[in-house]
Amino acid sequence: MIPNNALAELKKIIAPGSLLTGPADLEEYATDSTKMRFMPDAVAFPSTGEEIAQIFRLANREYFPIIPRGGGSGKSGGALPVKGGLVLAMDRFNRILHIDTENLIARVEPFVITETFQNEVESLGLFYPPDPASADASTIGGNVAECAGGLRGLKYGVTGDYVLGLTVVLPTGEIIKTGVETMKGVAGYDLTSLIVGSEGTLAVITSITLKLLPRPEAKKTMIVFFRVIETAARTVSNIIRGKVIPATLEFLDRMSIECVRSHIKFPIPDETEAILLIEVDGSEMVVADDAEQVRKICMSSGATEFRLAASKDEVEEIWEARRKVSDSMLDLKPGKISEDVVVPRNRIPDLIRFLEELSKKYCLPIPAYGHAGDGNLHVNILLDNTPDEKKRGEMVVRELLQRVIDLGGTITGEHGIGITKAMYMDMEFSPPAITLMKQIKGVFDPNNVLNPGKIFL
């Protein structure tokens, strides 16, 4: 709870009309893509870093939690006020401050919507590769906080690979700048990387310096059908081994395809068990060569059909369908547990076989789709929300994550730990590593006022 006197002081810190306290107004800020619900005590809309600094000083004195929030599209509960407190809605930090076409660098505020930014830089002949499926709702700040990935991770990496520097407000109320505006720099510790992916637990970001690339000249999009799911998984490795690195290499299993079938206009061959969506980009010449190489590899690996997207509309249709998979899962069953596991790429066939075993063993549908090129699969455990099914779902998660760790993988590739995976941290990290991370948290946030209850149990 935020004490009344603190609320009164908050009103003095921020501009009039920038504080919500009515229960109806707060509702929107109580949830995110996880659909879980935790009510905040209040929501503030700060306009400057200095205001945030003052809010922190107050929170440290009065001991109430501060929870930064971007687009509210997080999948691990990073923006949820699990212990109540003040949601810091960053909506007013929504400006693209500068796009430097000479140095291929941009500076943005955290609430810039990812897609808005992508379009803006592309109109200038440049390219910002990170492309989470939620690009139309998620913010750059949220992407940085979770180290979001997306459809182009295979060739272009994840959000963290594009963050050169940050301006942040620390929980103690200090404002610092980290990083560089150069392509390299090794002076001192890498605080930028520490804050990237820290899920809003170490600092509140107020400005981000991003690296941009020149926009690729051309791209080609392909859709490849398979009758045997493991053949599709093996084809992924074969493509990379064939020295083609597609920008995107997505996998969908049969149930995932069913979910979005109505969005796809071209025919899907009978008995299709898996699809690979592949996009190559680069110069006209490279793209033509790569697409032909991909076709050959797919066919020799056992694909049943290969289709090159014929038009821009068809390309859009394919990616639109892909982005809808996650939400459409709930059309099949009322509940789902979403996992975001990553294994070394050539272990994907093992993982898929294991999912089939789990599905049989626990009598639950477990569709999977995702960034196969990165070894990153979004595994969904679908449920009827009965206590029994929920319990079985939890058992699936534990077995799944253990197998992923045994295969040399990680329990989350791009969604973050948040609250949904906090109880599994000890499967991936040894006690000394977790202790060290907690101590780092303690250095930055001695009173644990910033986004408490996340990552660590």
Partner: protein
């Protein structure tokens, strides 16, 4: 910090953690570990140890931490800022005997290695598998040293610095605890990113005992070009145009006239003695690289290039780049009576022509000897000054110029060090570059190493 000098008991204990033949207090051994390739004066450790495995390292650190004995990790001693020198005495832990390649997983493009592996040796072993580890700092750098300093080299412009090529680390902390961080998966958003915190921390936060490296497929085709320019500025402008165009060179090196003349003398090559770019491309086919070269030729011509030679064969290309890698050595051999200071600033690429012009002007005005050569493609400028050993005037002027160049770079949005690290020599610039975030770096140091035993006297003044 107060540190303890080694006494007989410490020596017996430390010997026990390793073995009598892997522990030395001999003068010649200590001397070999008292100097890197920088100008910094010799600093003798009190003893040198060669551990064989992680648990030995852990025991050494745990004991040293309890006894307040400084511990400095040592790879090849090829650093350029005094990074592994025992400023406060104590022991040097030499990793050259932990030099095994533990596993190569071709399918995953990954290798597990110990820190004493020399990157060139690793690449020799990987060649027949069609793979390589991309960072190439030159010299006989070890993987451990490269991680500690986040080294980069000629290929960084395409493949990133060492940091971009590390997936997983085993680290021994100051108190002897062992942690593993990172994953064999290609990405993760699980927990805080300790890998990037340790990489580039110059052995001040922990000691790496095993690393999982990200490997790359050897490109199907290489091609290189040598381009001469009337001035360093015009070459700098060509660099900017090439990067802007998105051609994605695998190396883009700028050498001034003095460097070229040295290379000609040392290798018998006959390069035009003008400011020169060495350019390399990696690609899937000859036709593709040919197209890229043609665009490059046009861009260079529009920056007034004098001569553009491409299509050079593999042998000549290897000769060019090995001479580029040996340039530092050649400069040292050419001035046997001198000590050297390497400025290592990096600036945003658009400011690159400006910093080069400024540096050259300063050098001419000051009347000192300096070579300009750089990883131009990532805006990284090396200015290697040669000053006579006991000549105070030389060093006064060199230090003044160095300070002005670094301040200029920082004011242009750049950094004091693009790849050599802070070590001893660049500590003075940390406050100027980082402002109040330096305090938070210190707090992290205190958290990881409360007794300050890990490589004391580095990074922070």
């Amino acid at each position: 910090m107060d540190y303890k000098r080694l006494d007989n008991h410490d020596i017996e204990m430390l010997k026990g953690f390793t073995a009598p033949d892997r522990f030395s207090t001999g003068e010649s051994v200590k001397t070999l570990h008292s100097k890197d390739q920088s100008r910094h004066v010799c600093m003798l450790p009190e003893a040198v140890l060669w551990p064989l495995n992680e648990s030995e390292v852990s025991n050494i650190l745990k004991y040293s931490n309890e006894q307040r004995i400084p511990v400095t990790a040592w790879g090849a001693g090829s650093s350029l800022e005094g990074n592994p020198l025992s400023v406060c005495g104590g022991i040097v832990v030499d990793f050259t005997m932990m030099n095994r390649v533990l596993d190569v997983r071709e399918e995953d493009f990954q290798a597990d290695v110990e820190p004493g592996v020399i990157y060139k040796e690793l690449n020799k072993r990987l060649r027949h598998k069609g793979l390589f580890f991309a960072p190439d700092p030159g010299a006989d750098a070890t993987i451990g040293g490269m991680i500690a300093n986040n080294s980069s080299g000629t290929r960084t412009v395409k493949y990133g610095a060492t940091r971009a090529n590390i997936l997983k680390l085993s680290i021994v902390l100051a108190n002897g605890e062992i942690i593993r961080t990172g994953t064999r998966a290609s990405k993760t958003s699980s927990g805080y990113d300790l890998i990037n915190l340790i990489t580039g921390s110059e052995g001040t936060l922990g000691v790496v005992t095993c690393a999982t490296l990200r490997l790359r497929g050897l490109p199907a085709e290489f091609s290189a070009a040598v381009v001469s320019f009337p001035s360093v500025e015009s070459a700098g402008k060509a660099v900017f145009e090439i990067i802007r165009s998105g051609l994605d060179p695998a190396a883009l090196e700028l050498l001034d006239r003095g460097c070229i003349s040295l290379i000609n003398r040392n290798t018998g090559m006959n390069l035009m003695e003008r400011p020169t770019l060495f350019i390399e491309y990696h690609g899937p086919s000859i036709s593709y690289i040919g197209e890229v070269m043609e665009v490059t030729r046009e861009l260079c011509a529009s920056s007034n290039s004098l001569d553009f030679r491409s299509g050079i064969g593999r042998d000549e290309r290897d000769k060019l780049f090995s001479s580029r890698h040996r340039l530092g050595e050649m400069i040292v051999q050419n001035h046997t009576d001198c000590l050297f200071l390497s400025a290592d600033t990096a600036v945003p690429i658009s400011a690159y022509p400006e910093i080069i012009a400024m540096a050259r002007e300063e050098v001419e005005k000051g009347g000192v000897t300096a070579y300009i050569f750089s990883h131009a493609g990532d805006g990284n400028l090396h200015l290697k000054f040669a000053g006579r050993k006991d000549n105070r005037d030389d060093w006064r002027v060199i230090n003044e110029i160095n300070n002005r160049v670094v301040s200029k770079a920082i004011s242009l949005g750049g950094t004091a060090t693009g790849e050599h690290g802070v070590g001893i020599g660049k500590r003075a610039f940390m406050a100027e570059e980082h402002g109040n975030s330096l305090i938070w770096m210190k707090k992290i140091k205190e958290l990881f190493d409360p007794n300050g035993i890990l490589n004391p006297g580095k990074i922070f003044l």
